[in-house]
Amino acid sequence: MDADFYPFIIRWLHVLNGVMWIGLLWYFNFVQIPNMSKIPDEQKPAIGKVIAPEALFWLRWAALGTLVFGLWLATLNGYIVEVLTLGLGTHLKGHVSLGIGMWFGIIMAFNVWFIIWPNQKKALGLVECDPDDKPKAARTAMLFSRTNTMLSIPMFYGMVSAQSLYHLS
């Protein structure tokens, strides 16, 4: 088998997981959250109890998958240290851009698992908590989800420009 095939498969899995993750992130921020106020209260549980928990399940595992396959790919390509140090030793634009993209991605995955998910569990009633804490938890999750949406734009710029503008393969 062609030596390029192995890193290619890892890249394919990285992109596949990434599309699942960011697709759902954008679904939440561009479709679900802005339209919740238009849904009658008695119908809200359909979103809160059924759709959102399922979407969050795929979102957070896809986030982890994207991170794992992405770090694996950078290791296979032999530039993991160079990109994570933002090309400080190499001064290659591809290392700087991919490095910034990777750090944004890492921050985003951290937000998903350690801030958005614990707060969503409280907001959706999946764990016991003080009823007064629910709106606060929902707001925190929403704000960090919005932050991730904001970061996804420069994150993609870093990822894509490293390859097609600065020829880092």
């Binding site: 921020n29 090309g87 949406t149 970061l151 870093g158």
Partner: protein
């Protein structure tokens, strides 16, 4: 607002990539040429 913030960060990032990623030798040559 979210999209605008994302785009602003992206443009700052573009400048950072081109400054940090600039070849130090090219920068040095450029500076030497600028000297009288």
């Amino acid at each position: 607002m979210t999209l605008v913030m994302g785009l602003i960060i992206m443009f700052i990032m573009m400048i950072v990539i081109n400054v940090v990623g600039a070849d130090p030798q090219v920068s040095t040559d450029l500076m030497n040429n600028l000297k009288p």
